[in-house]
């Protein structure tokens, strides 16, 4: 099963590279690529790190950390909208 996941991850990686050379707005492509990589990351976390099978409460820890980072990013973005 894990080999299957690995295959999926490899395919996703190639997809990312391919996406870059597609025609389209740069920011839209960037968004798609980042969505793919987020998907890869979540897959690794859920399966390789076993989070899917662990008690759900364990996931609170990494999720809280990610929320913290998002918060930092949002705040940084807020300062940027003034064009600093």
């Amino acid at each position: 099963m894990y080999v299957g996941i690995w295959l999926g991850l490899v395919v996703a990686t190639v997809a990312e590279v391919v996406t870059r050379s597609l025609a389209g707005a740069a920011s839209l492509l960037a968004l798609i690529i980042l969505l793919i990589s987020s998907g890869k990351a979540i897959t690794i976390a859920m399966y390789y790190q076993h989070l899917r099978y662990e008690d759900k409460r364990l996931a609170i820890l990494p999720i809280a950390a990610v929320v913290g980072v998002i918060f930092l990013a949002v705040a940084a973005a807020m300062t940027m909208s003034m064009g600093m």
């Binding site: 690995w6 996406t19 690794i44 790190q49 820890l61 990494p62 950390a65 940084a76």
Partner: protein, 257 residues
């Protein structure tokens, strides 16, 4: 005061913490003052790490059976696993902070080179796949030892180690010199600074991971793991997969976007 000392012996003593701390301090002092001193610091760190390896192999600090009764809400977690996850929380925040800094700096700047001009996408993609495969090898190692298969454990660990080492060799030995020859260096401007700093920190984490996997290999050859006692494999695996996850974001952020 005699009774004071009796119970002291229940706690184990070791020189490793103070030596490791001294080594790190000397290393950092060396960076600032005198580079050879940093090498000395590195050696001291190595000595301390070696001491810890030995302690681990002797199971000198194996968890004593505490009268632990209350563990809600995380009673299903061993203390090492909880410790590793908490450590990963701090790692998410440090890499996250750096990535936010990178995005901030990039979006604030007037011009940023197209990724393909500065980065070798094929090399990066291959490295990504190598790292992914190393994670697979780690999972294989864990599942082997869960089933009592020590040989599989060793094969998996060797696979993880070699693929991780290959990742570093390609990055540090092939990719980076190539960039430096092209003038894309850490001080050539913000694009170079952010790339080399973030991927450099990531590479350092891969290196530390290799040391840890090396420790596991060492113990697997000395009968340290059985099908019921292998928490170190799982926990170091968690760290290894985390390093992989970070790369999942670094690769597109630098090579593709």
């Amino acid at each position: 005061m005699t009774e004071d000392y009796e119970h002291r012996e229940e706690s184990k003593s070791t020189y490793a913490p103070i030596i490791l701390a001294a080594g790190i301090a000397v290393l950092l002092f060396g960076f600032v003052i005198f580079l050879p001193l940093a090498v000395v610091g590195g050696i001291i760190i190595g000595a301390a790490v070696f001491m810890l390896f030995k302690d681990g192999a002797n199971e000198k600090f194996a968890e004593f059976k505490e009268s632990v009764e209350e563990k809600w809400p995380l009673e299903f977690l061993s203390k090492e696993k909880l410790g590793i996850w908490l450590f990963l929380v701090s790692e998410i925040l440090i890499f996250g902070g750096l990535i936010v800094a990178y995005v901030y700096v990039r979006l604030s700047s007037n011009s940023w080179p197209v990724a393909t001009q500065t980065h070798d996408v094929i090399l990066g993609m291959s490295n990504t796949i190598i790292l992914l495969t190393s994670s697979l090898a780690m999972v294989f190692a864990l599942y082997s030892i869960r089933g009592g298969n020590i040989k599989g454990l060793r094969i998996g660990l060797i696979g993880t180690f070699s693929l991780g080492a290959a990742f570093l060799v390609i990055k540090l030995g092939i990719e980076w010199p190539q960039y430096y020859r092209n003038g894309f260096t850490i001080s050539s401007g913000l694009p170079g600074s952010t790339y080399f700093l973030l991927t450099g920190l990531h590479a350092a984490h891969v290196g530390a991971g290799l040391v840890a996997v090396g420790y596991l290999l060492f113990r697997s050859f000395h009968g340290g793991f059985t099908n019921t006692k292998h928490s170190a494999v799982e926990n170091i695996g968690l760290y290894w997969h985390f390093v992989d996850i970070v790369w999942m974001f670094l690769f597109p952020l630098f090579y593709l976007i």
